[in-house]
Symmetry: C2
Subunit: 199 residues, 2 copies
């Protein structure tokens, strides 16, 4: 019942997580009735980000420069490296505060079922960086899910053979949960309560 | 902590209704991590819709052709005209079924406080159309809010002076509610139970 351009807009909005048929209709009509400038600004931002955003050459997080803000910050210690699954996890840990080391973003986790192996999540790069930067401790902050635990365990084994200490964030992060939805206090607690992985 | 292009994308996503800082971050990262094609398709749809979608010359609803699908349908009776506030309301009534007349979309309601008067919601066009199409009954299906009621009343007064009958959808639509969120059965009932406005 809507015209082709409106229908296509509604369908395209479905690429956004959490947007179903009802809210895509509401969004499309809102933009067309009340905020076409906002729609055009969003279109421009989508194109520029989709075409311009790459990965930090050091930590692999999403950014459009060679090095992200954290990797290019001289005050961040190279000796402590925190491994996370996604850029949102970096954000969550930074907001929790209390960590002055650096990060390595896997952009995923090991998932043999989906054909995602160590090379797909940059584990070779991670080990190279640990050696290069003379990292003393690697904090494994992958999600406390089955895949996140398996990924942490895999990395810990590799680090052990290099003689580098690995720890796992511990208390407070609810099992089966997603790191990015945990509150800052709990995350700070989990970081402080990390323990050495016994293999 | 995010790079400028990612920050701008997150801020731009806030133009969507119901999208706060948390979900705009989730949406931006989802698109950049997993669906850049979806992001580019959405950008294209936004530009084409924002620049191409106008208004139906007859009922004023959003569409990119001169006449919308309903106004160009020969089977829809011209003698019964249903007046609604938004294109979503047309959609809701069509999905409820049981109405074979035509629509007139105000794209709003009278709101003296916001400086929205009869001309801003096309009431002159509405009255011209009623005269031209020899409309016998105008069903006022504006929202059952204070402004929607006032708008219905204003139109009914104008129609009375033209000798045209006005009715108001009645039972079932909850007071203070928004037409587009009412279920189809209730809407069909409200249409069937309409009564003549006594002035
Ligand atoms: Zn970096
Ligand atoms: Zn029309």
């Amino acid at each position: 019942m809507f015209s082709p351009l409106i229908k296509e807009l509604m369908e395209s909005l479905r690429c956004l997580p959490g947007v179903g048929p009802r809210s895509s209709q509401r969004m499309a009509l809102h933009l067309l009735e009340k905020d076409r400038d906002g729609a055009l600004r969003l279109a421009k931002a989508l194109i520029e980000a989709a075409e311009g955003v790459g990965r930090c050459h050091s930590c692999r997080t999403l950014c459009e420069s060679q090095l992200c803000d954290i990797c290019s910050h001289p005050g961040r210690e190279k000796a402590t490296l925190c491994v996370v699954e996604t850029p949102s996890d970096v954000m969550a840990l930074e907001q929790a505060g209390g960590f002055s080391g650096r990060y390595f973003v896997l952009m995923g986790h090991l998932s043999p079922i989906d054909g995602i192996g160590p090379d797909d999540i940059g584990i070779t790069d991670l080990l190279d960086r640990v050696a290069e930067d003379k990292v003393k401790e690697v904090i494994l902050a992958t999600n406390p899910t089955v895949e996140g635990e398996a990924t942490a365990h895999y990395i810990a084994e590799e680090l052990k053979s290099m003689g580098v200490e690995a720890s796992r964030i511990a208390h407070g992060v609810p099992l089966g949960g997603e790191l990015e939805y945990v509150d800052g206090g709990t995350l700070a607690h989990a970081l402080a309560g990390r323990r050495k992985l016994e293999l």
